[in-house]
Symmetry: C2
Subunit: 198 residues, 2 copies
């Protein structure tokens, strides 16, 4: 059973997104975590670097979260569950090892057939696919001024609490601020410039 | 004569701060520019890299600003006029080549005697000192909840307009949001973590 959280307006959210990289390139990409108080105030930045199509994202994220000086985090948000290509974040493991609930959000509906086909081209397909399956079902929520659908998976909290937290933090765009801003930063530091979209 | 600006609440401000580096080290440091609408909404990120104690900061900043897709910038803010050690930003030149007013802000009063002594140890002292002198006089303004003094130099706008813009954007800390957040990002991407202060 999951007990409903008391969701404060200034709830501390840590939202992660990765930087871009050239298709086919090797090496690492920066993954940026922004700590927000609710949907408005940026409190701090975390950075890890993960291997393109590697397997180190889950472990590095857990380590960064468990050693951070931000001791008041209440929930983790992810921009999907893949970082640096198909470096998968195992949200069950992330939840278990940090003790924090996790919400993975995607702006577009994931085409699971296409996703699976792309993943099949990589080594260790079975291992990656297991992580996809363990992330659980997708929920739909309308955000933004015009009420467009975005999609989420979650663990460690109720669907209703996840919805509350998404609505609270998605004040100025379709995506919650911690993900919108992590995207701007990760893409800006790699490309030299980033620009928002509504 | 300087004509007073019409300062809107959502005025686009670009605020720059540099990342930390180890004393005595060589190479470059990242310098992050954040584009804010007034004091609240982060619209985009710029990044340049400048040489420690070098001379490329002014030129690189001008280039980044003149080629950015953020076409609605109205004012530039700097965290002081030195980036990456004593890599000086010539605010007169920055103003002239971008057409934008510039406000350089420091949290603490600069001890000009100490500053000059430290700078004297570097090559091209005269060239650096000229930039310091051309930045003009310091003004004082009280910001933050408890009204503490911070200090600024400015070019291309009146003292009154600079004050308006600082007050408008320093809503949540002593420093205007574009500088507070650029500091968090620049230090977070270098050190792996940054944390705010009040």
């Amino acid at each position: 059973m999951q007990i409903s959280m008391y969701v404060k307006n200034e709830i501390r959210i840590l939202g992660w997104d990765d930087g871009p990289f050239k298709k086919g390139s090797k090496g690492t990409v920066p993954v940026i975590g922004t700590v927000f108080r609710g949907g408005s105030f940026l409190d701090g930045i975390l950075r890890i670097d993960v291997e393109i199509d590697g397997f180190d994202a889950t472990k590095k994220m857990i380590k960064a979260i468990n050693k951070t000086r931000h001791k008041d985090l209440r929930v983790i948000m992810l921009d999907g569950i893949t970082f640096g290509g198909f470096n998968m974040v195992d949200i069950k493991e992330l939840h278990k090892k940090t003790g924090l609930p996790v919400i993975a959000i995607t702006r577009k509906k994931v085409d699971m057939r296409k996703f699976r086909e792309a993943m099949k081209k990589l080594p260790n397909f079975e291992k990656r696919w297991k992580v996809v399956e363990s992330a659980g079902e997708f929920y739909t929520i309308k955000t933004g001024k015009r009420g467009k659908n975005i999609y989420f998976q979650k663990i460690g909290l109720t669907k209703e609490d996840a919805e509350k937290i998404i609505r609270l933090s998605a004040r100025r765009s379709l995506l919650p601020e911690p993900l919108r801003v992590s995207h701007l930063i990760a893409s800006g530091i790699v490309k030299g410039e980033s620009i928002g979209r509504a």
